[in-house]
């Protein structure tokens, strides 16, 4: 760690990992409700559990992005963060808001209240006071990081990162636009939801990935930057009008079907570019970085994002297909693998990379961390397959043959049971990850014959300690 | 070919497309002729206006993609 203020990231990453644990645990509960519909129906109704599952996901990913920004901006700009105090204040506001959200969702004390009541828009259910808090915290954050970058070195990584973070914060303002007309409501709603995950977040993802590649592979900055600009341009070109793929059936004019189909089909391109980028950098790079876990998460991120966001997204993005698959388990399959690949893996990659520095350890070989990668990724991939099969069956029975919704759900039970199993693997993987990051002080694995040979003969090879 | 020669070629090819349409020709020969003329125009713009003549391998890549797309267009147009 070269700059003292990078330490801010530690607090952000810790809170993020707590919420990560909450998120996957609630996912497991929800997975069981799919198997046994009456489970916890009095204490934790499905809709409340789902709100907590999705909201905690978004919040911890955002906290991870903030932490990543606080970690990498000092290194890139070669400056301490403008004000560490403000950074901790920002985190405190987020923690308070999160606690407020949990209380509001659980007990629903202020139903209908303008300021305190939950808003009832999917993913944007937060009461208005929390939304206002998020805006204040975001402003503090943007002020803090922008001041740092403006006074220091400006690199492609900080440029694209700031572009993504500013866009993300400004688009959140549409969370306050809530027209009574449901079609208009949805139209603005997607300005937040779609333009986050398929626009500004992609810029954040590309820049963090670029930072990791720069550090882990040692490829020239010039090469990394060229890739980064191309990826950012592709993401915005396809992603902005790609919003049209949400405007097929909400009451917007019919031409959106073609705009949405064509542009969102191209959304696979930036994800392919990110995957190509990661692998080409590793292949070109000659640095043998000892933090193998961070590299594994980075490559896993690029690959699973390509499949989850790119391929599984394309699967149901053409309006002729979406007419049938809309709102089935196909969407759930895509949502899980896309979020996991693109944003969960990304955060866990930067956490895996930064934590040894933040905690003052030498990079160690993180065998447990890598085991967590395979367990969690295996779980999510299996979950994606079960949900894809469930969605295919559901589409056929419900949308083609016209069977009723609940009748079809009965037919899907076996897939839901298998999905629960994969959920167990994910939760175990998450717990293992958190343990591996926080607990072991030394993790020594005796080198085997191959490793011993490399250490003896390959000058570039660095021992993992 | 200079830029001006390229421009004159484009004028000739454009006039040819319009003349073909005005001649009342239709059916498969018309589809193939009109799209081939479009391909020729696109090639000239890529090579001369956009300067890809200086990068033959990239120009060949564009030409190949263009040919594939135009053949697809021909197929779709003839299927109607």
């Amino acid at each position: 760690m070269k700059y003292q203020s990078q330490k801010i990231a530690l607090a952000y990453f810790l809170v993020a990992m707590v919420l990560f644990a909450v998120q996957v645990s609630l996912g497991l509960v929800l997975g069981w409700i799919y198997v046994d519909g009456t489970f916890l129906s009095e204490i934790l109704p499905f809709n409340v559990g789902r709100m907590l599952h999705t909201n905690s996901l978004i919040v911890w990913l955002l906290l991870g992005f903030f932490g990543a920004a606080y970690y990498l901006i000092p290194e890139e700009s070669e400056r301490e963060i403008h004000s560490p105090k403000l950074a901790y204040l920002q985190l405190a506001i987020f923690v308070l808001g999160t606690a407020g959200v949990v209380v509001t969702y659980f007990f629903n004390l202020f139903e209908g209240n303008f300021l305190l009541g939950r808003e009832g828009r999917e993913f944007l259910e937060q009461p208005r006071w929390v939304k206002a808090g998020i805006v204040v915290a975001a402003l503090i954050f943007l002020y803090n990081v922008s001041m740092t970058v403006l006074s220091g070195k400006k690199t492609a990584i900080t440029n694209i990162l700031l572009l993504g973070l500013w866009g993300l914060a400004l688009l959140f303002l549409f969370a306050f636009v809530n027209p009574a007309n449901l079609a208009l409501d949805k139209m603005y709603w997607w300005y937040v939801v779609h333009l986050w995950v398929e626009g500004t977040w992609e810029l954040v993802m590309a820049s963090i990935l670029a930072f990791l590649m720069l550090k882990l592979t040692g490829v020239d900055r010039e090469v990394v930057e060229k890739w980064l600009y191309v990826i950012a341009a592709l993401a915005l070109f396809s992603g902005i009008l790609g919003t049209g793929h949400h405007y097929y059936w909400i009451g917007t004019p019919g031409y959106w079907q073609w705009i949405g189909s064509i542009f969102s089909s191209l959304e696979v391109v930036p994800f392919f570019a990110m995957m190509a980028f990661a692998f080409v950098m590793v292949w070109k790079g000659r640095r043998d970085h000892p933090n193998k876990a961070a590299l594994l998460w980075s490559l896993g991120c690029a690959t699973l994002a390509f499949f989850g966001a790119g391929v599984w997204g394309f699967l149901h993005t053409l309006h002729g297909v979406n007419f049938y698959t809309h709102g089935t388990q196909i969407t759930a399959a895509h949502g899980h693998l896309a979020f996991y690949g693109a944003y969960v893996c990304l955060n866990l990659a930067i956490i895996s990379y930064a934590m040894p520095h933040l905690k003052g350890r030498d990079p160690y070989n993180q065998v447990l961390n890598m085991a967590a990668f395979w367990l969690m990724s295996g779980g999510v991939v299996f979950m994606t397959f079960t949900l894809t099969f469930a969605g295919t069956v559901q589409t056929h029975l419900q949308r083609v043959l016209g069977m009723s919704y609940m009748e079809v759900q009965d037919q899907l039970w076996v897939f839901y049971a298998m999905r629960f199993g994969s959920g167990v693997a994910v939760v175990l993987g998450a717990v293992l990850f958190i343990y591996a990051i926080l607990v072991p002080r030394r993790e020594v694995v005796t080198p085997g014959p191959l490793e011993r040979d490399r250490l003896a003969h390959d000058a570039d090879h660095v021992a993992a300690e | 070919m200079t830029i001006t020669r390229a421009w004159m070629m484009l004028l000739v090819l454009s006039t040819a497309s319009t003349a073909l349409a005005a001649s009342g020709m239709h059916g498969a020969p018309f589809v193939v002729a009109v799209l081939a003329l479009a391909g020729a125009k696109a090639h000239i713009i890529l090579a001369r206006y956009l300067g890809l003549a200086a990068a033959p391998s990239i120009l060949a890549g564009f030409d190949l993609s263009l040919a594939v797309v135009l053949i697809l267009f021909m197929g779709l147009a003839l299927a109607a």
């Binding site: 191209l266 | 830029i3 319009t18 956009l50």
Partner: protein
């Protein structure tokens, strides 16, 4: 850290002009290509309706517009040469000509739109018009953007800026020569 010695020159290094502009050009070609393919695919379902609808367009006007655009592109290409030769006055004159022809294109296009609107034809009238409005409208928006861009690059008048602006303008040309036969002639 060790760097690869004697890295192979990349094919991309041969690209004339700005890499980012080429990324944009290829992206635009993909979008318009997909749009035109979708148009032709939907046309299979109703050839008679499409041909009836097509008769409402200004075929001759669009033919003239092809001439207008390729001529404008010719001026822009000369402007790049002028920029490289350091002749700023000539360059600005050529760019002004290219922009003026862009305006002529928009006027002719606008007359067609006005006539269609007067006949009560909108996006929803027929699938043909959904596509023709989308594709030509999107293209016309690029003409406007290209005119602005050309005006912007003429200010610093550096060869690199002018080359980038002109490349965008040629892309607008390129899209039109592919779009025109498919929408207006077939």
């Amino acid at each position: 850290m060790t760097e690869q010695a004697g890295e192979r020159p990349s094919v991309l290094d041969q690209l004339p002009g700005e890499l980012m502009m080429w990324v944009l050009i290829v992206s635009e070609l993909l979008v318009f290509g997909a749009g035109l393919a979708a148009f032709l695919a939907v046309r299979i379902t109703d050839p008679a309706g499409f041909s009836e609808a097509q008769s409402h367009l200004h075929r001759a006007g669009a033919g003239v517009n092809t001439i207008v655009l390729v001529t404008s592109g010719w001026l822009a290409a000369h402007a790049v040469c002028a920029a490289e030769a350091g002749r700023a006055r000539r360059l600005r004159g050529l760019i002004a000509g290219a922009i003026a022809l862009g305006a002529v294109f928009l006027v002719l296009k606008g007359m067609e739109y006005a006539d269609l609107a007067a006949a009560g034809i909108s996006f929803e009238t027929h699938a043909f018009f959904t596509f023709s409005y989308l594709l030509t409208g999107f293209h016309a928006a690029h003409v406007v953007a290209g005119m602005v861009l050309l005006a912007v690059v003429a200010v610093p008048a550096s060869p690199r800026a002018v080359e980038t602006g002109a490349a965008f303008w040629h892309m607008v040309d390129l899209v039109w020569v592919l779009l025109f036969p498919v929408i207006y002639l077939l």
